[in-house]
Each structure stands twice: as C-alpha cells, then as structure tokens.
C-alpha cells in the first residue's frame, strides 16, 4: 500500500498500521530512542566542532587534551556541568525558574519528529510537517522568557525580552521563505519535500535559502544575532542565573536548536537524506554539519547587531524579499511548471542576485532607528 510520488514509492503509514505486535507503539519507541541518541550525540559533536572550529579560525588549537583530538571534551563538559551545584536565587520565582529549561528544551527535541532520516523513516510523517515545525519551534521562546522572568535578574529579563522580539519578527520571513519550497515541492510533508528534490532546492530557491538561514539564525540566537545572551552587554542574558543541570539544559537547547535548524535547512534545501553511494542517514548528517559549519563561520566572523537593527533587518529587508521571492516562485510554478531545471536555476540565481543588490542599496542596516 505505497503511494507513488515523483516516481518513488512511499510507505503510507497513516493508512497502514504495521502488522507487528504492538503496532505503532514500537515504531514510536524506536524512533524516540533514535531521536534522543541522534540529538545528544550530534549536540556533543556540534560543541566539539564549534570549539575546534572557533579555535582554528582564531589561529589557536582548540581543546585537544581530553581524549584524542579533544573529542571527549564535550563529555567532560557534560559531566562537570551536570555535577555542579544548582543555585536557585532566593528572589526568583521558583516554579517558573525550575520549569523554564524544560519548556525550552522539549520543543527543540520535538522538531525531529518530522525530520526524515531516510525514505519514510521518521517518527510521524505528518501531512502538515512544515506547519508543525514552524509551530513547535517558537515554543522554546516561552521557556526562554520564563527563564528571564523567573530569575528576577534585570539582565535576564532584558535578554528574554530581546529574544521574544526577535522570534516574533523573524517568524514572518522564515515562514514566507519556506512556503516557496512548499510551492515547488507541492507538499507540506517533510518526507515528500525531500522526495521532490531531484535537484536540491537550494538551486531553485537561493534567495529562500538565504532568508531561512538568516531568519533561523536570528531565531535561535546564533551570532551575529546572539543579542539574547550577548556576554559583552548583558552578561549571559536569560541564563545568567542558571547553574548546574539547568544551565546544561539551556546549553543543550542552544545546540539542539542549531541542530534542528540545520536539519530543517538540510531537509528543505539540500535534499535531506538523498545522495549517492553513502547511506541516507549519513548524507543527512553530512548536510547538517555543512549547515552548522556555516553558522560557526558567521559566528567567528561577524560582530553583533543591535536590537533595533535586528528588527529593521527582519521587517525592512527579509520580509519584503521573502514576499517577492514567494510571488516569483508562485509565478514560476503556475506559468512554467515544466520549465527545464537548469534554466530555472540560472533565472533564479540572477533574480536573487539582482534583488539582494537592489535591496542592499535601498536599505542599510544602520539606517532608520526603529524603536522597540
């Protein structure tokens, strides 16, 4: 009972309960374990990659004493942080302070429910996969705001406020850019979007890729948009008052969100698990690391922007471009559904280049102070 989609057979799990004992239960259990393992392993790998990468880019070595090439460094960090004293400030709102890391952590994990590791291998092949991702990813903000509020620390509150402002603004261009992908793929399901990518969609949607990358970075507090934990301004932002295990949770959230964003970008734009020779899950991991490397790169290179410039960038630069991108994509899908891919690639890259150059003439980051 497979659905044939773009010439590839897809197991339709909604109509076919597995006939092994327990039905979906085992499926969920296995995938939950896989997702937990995937997230924790890759988060550790990410911290290692980031610290070694930062080191190399700053002409240093990076951690290399704990284990060969320092690969046990994340393990040491994890053990140490988990065993540190957990301080709850006396003036804090205890319940909110305690709950915040949990609320922030689980949405980052839940996103992986719809990320396909290979054809049909995902926890829940939702028809509305993208919508689910967009909806879930913003829930972390609630946790971060709870952290800022519950700590009863002024720096924390400032950081939390900044985060909320950023997420509210950047959700808009992010979603609009993702819709471009949906239009081309013709489905909201993550798995079917991957199946639709005979050529990676980054080639057809270069502008959309850039917008999603930038807006995603802004949502998950990666540099140059890391205003929420800007250590040169507001100490450590929303997690200033967190220590021990709760801080470890926030640390995990930070990288799990980066991982989620990398996975979504890899799935939407880089062809997900598809690729020759290597096994599909390995392709996904490789693509995830490629996207994450871009993030590390921008983090080492760029200074931080200010909160009003962050807002201006979202509303004056990304939002109009995302709208234009959506309009052009819609036009292309309706008017030339059968156009040769290579012509579309050339046309789309040209359009992206022209738009970016034009808009950067019209708009400078420093122009116009938007009060927030």
């Amino acid at each position: 009972m497979n659905i044939v989609y773009h010439g590839i057979a897809v197991p339709d799990m909604k109509q076919l309960p597995p006939d092994w004992p327990g039905g979906f239960f085992w499926h969920w259990l296995v995938f939950t374990v896989i997702i937990f393992t995937f997230v924790f392993t890759l988060v550790m790998a990410f911290t290692w990659v980031e610290r070694r990468g930062l080191g190399r880019m700053q002409s240093r070595l990076g951690p290399n004493r704990a284990g060969p090439f320092g690969i046990l460094q994340p393990v040491a960090d994890a053990i140490k942080v988990l065993l540190k004293e957990d301080i709850v400030p006396s003036r804090s709102d205890r319940i909110v302070h305690w709950l915040a890391p949990v609320v922030a952590f689980f949405p980052a994990l839940l996103i992986f429910a719809v990320v396909p590791f290979q054809n049909g291998a995902l926890l829940a092949d939702l028809d509305i996969g993208i919508l689910y991702v967009v909806a879930i990813s913003s829930v972390s903000t609630v946790g971060i705001f709870m952290a800022g509020w519950g700590s009863s620390n002024k720096f924390s509150l400032l950081g939390a406020m900044r985060n909320v402002a950023a997420v509210v603004s950047y959700e808009m261009p992010l979603v609009l850019a993702v819709i471009g992908v949906v239009l081309i793929a013709g489905s909201l399901s993550m798995n079917q979007i991957v199946l639709a990518q005979d050529i990676p969609l980054i080639l057809l949607q270069p502008l959309g890729f850039l917008i999603v990358f930038i807006a995603g970075c802004a949502e998950i507090n990666r540099s140059p948009f890391d205003l929420m934990e800007a250590d040169s301004e507001i100490v450590a932002g929303f997690h200033t008052e967190y220590s021990g295990m709760k801080f470890a949770m926030f640390y995990l959230v930070e990288y799990a969100e980066a991982l989620a964003l990398s996975a979504i970008i890899a799935t939407l734009f880089l062809g997900g698990w598809r690729g020759p020779v290597l096994p599909p899950w390995l392709w996904l991991v490789i693509k995830v690391f490629a996207v994450f490397f871009l993030m590390v790169w921008t983090r080492t290179t760029l200074p931080r922007i200010r909160i009003d410039q962050l807002m201006a960038l979202a509303w004056k630069f990304l939002f109009p471009l995302a709208l234009i991108n959506l309009a052009i994509t819609g036009l292309q899908v309706v008017a030339w559904p059968d156009a040769l891919p290579w012509t579309m690639i050339i046309v789309n890259f040209a359009i992206a280049a022209v738009l970016i150059v034009l808009w950067s003439r019209l708009f400078k980051v420093g122009w116009g102070r938007v009060e927030v």
Partner: protein, 198 residues
C-alpha cells in the same frame, strides 16, 4: 547639558555601600586558610568510589571554565594566555563565562582594593560548587608592591576568599599561569566524593 544634582536615594546607596566596605575591612584582618591541605594523604576509598572519583575529577579537571574577572594588570597576561600563542583552550578552558554562576575557576587577575572586596566576595559566593580560586600575581597573593602602606589595597585575596593556588609574579608570565593551572588540575584530581572538600 547641565548636570542634574545627585538624587538623595543614590547618596544613601553610596553610604550603605561604604558601610559594607568598612564592615568587611574590619572583619577580614587575617588570611583565610586554604580550602584543602595540599599534600594530604589519600583517604581510604573503595574501588567503586575511586573509579567514580577518577572519572568525575577527570571531567572537572578537563573543563575548568574561568569566570570573566579582570581587575588590573594581570588581566592582560590572562588574556594573552587565552589568546593564540599560549592557548589555554587546549585544556578546554577557553570558555570564559561572564556569569559567575556557570564558572568553576576565579582567576584573580589583579590588585584587590577594599572598595572592590565586597564585590569579589559576592562573585565568589555566586559561583556554584565545586569552585576554585587561583590567586594570580603578587597583588593577588599578598598585595604586591602596594601592600606595604596603601590605605586602599587588600593584602591578598585570601583575606576575602579561600585561595587554592598561588601564582607569584608581577605579573606572572602566561607560562607561569599555565603552570598554576596544571597545579590546579593536580589538585582537582585529588578530590573525592567521599568527603566534602572545599
């Protein structure tokens, strides 16, 4: 633009802070003892505990995150140590935490004055256990060249907070600081869950 006169509430705040400083000055006229004696013999431990200890101490020693705390001259040797030439990131220590809650090690890079002393005490209290203090430089150890007669300088951080490792020098070279950090690693390796140290 004219300068607005001081609001009375802020003056009150200043007086209060001054009182705190005076209290601290009166209370700390003797050095605090070091948290744990250095060359203490190994206490009896069973095999399980030893293994757990070894692992935990390895983890703690491998990722000592220093607090960002840079009062004076020594700070620049500390920064030099963190930069590419001496590169303390090899030991997993390049993550300087701005928030003392998440830091393990306070490198007291510079002179401590009585005005600063309550803040240092507070930063130390804010750090989560287990925590260590490395007194860097002559000023950190004993007040250095200012100790003899200055009315404003605390003769050594150990008047205020317990110090684990002392690194002399004015300022100590980054190599000396790295050596001090290795000593701290050795000290961490001797820790045990069996007793409540530091």
């Amino acid at each position: 633009m004219e300068i607005v006169p001081e609001r009375p509430s802020l003056i009150e705040l200043d007086r209060h802070e001054g009182q705190v400083i005076e209290d601290m000055k009166a209370a700390s006229n003797r050095p605090l003892s070091d948290p744990v004696a250095w060359l203490e013999e190994d206490i009896e431990r069973n095999i399980l505990l030893t293994t757990v200890d070894a692992m935990i101490n390895w983890a703690r020693g491998s990722s000592v995150w220093p607090a960002m705390f840079a009062p004076a001259c020594c700070a620049f040797e500390m920064i030099a140590m963190a930069a590419s030439r001496f590169d303390v990131s090899r030991f997993g220590m390049e993550i300087f935490r701005a928030s003392p809650r998440q830091a393990d090690l306070m490198i007291t890079a510079g002179t401590l004055t009585w005005k600063m002393a309550p803040n240092v005490k507070r930063i130390y209290d804010q750090m989560a256990e287990p925590k260590w203090v490395l007194a860097m430089g002559s000023c950190g150890v004993s007040g250095g060249i200012f100790a003899s007669s200055s009315y404003a300088v605390v003769p050594g951080y150990n008047r205020i907070i317990p110090v684990d490792v002392y690194v002399p020098g004015c300022p100590p070279r980054p190599e000396a600081l790295l050596y001090g950090i290795r000593m701290l690693h050795q000290k961490i390796a001797k820790g045990s869950l069996a007793r409540h140290d530091n």
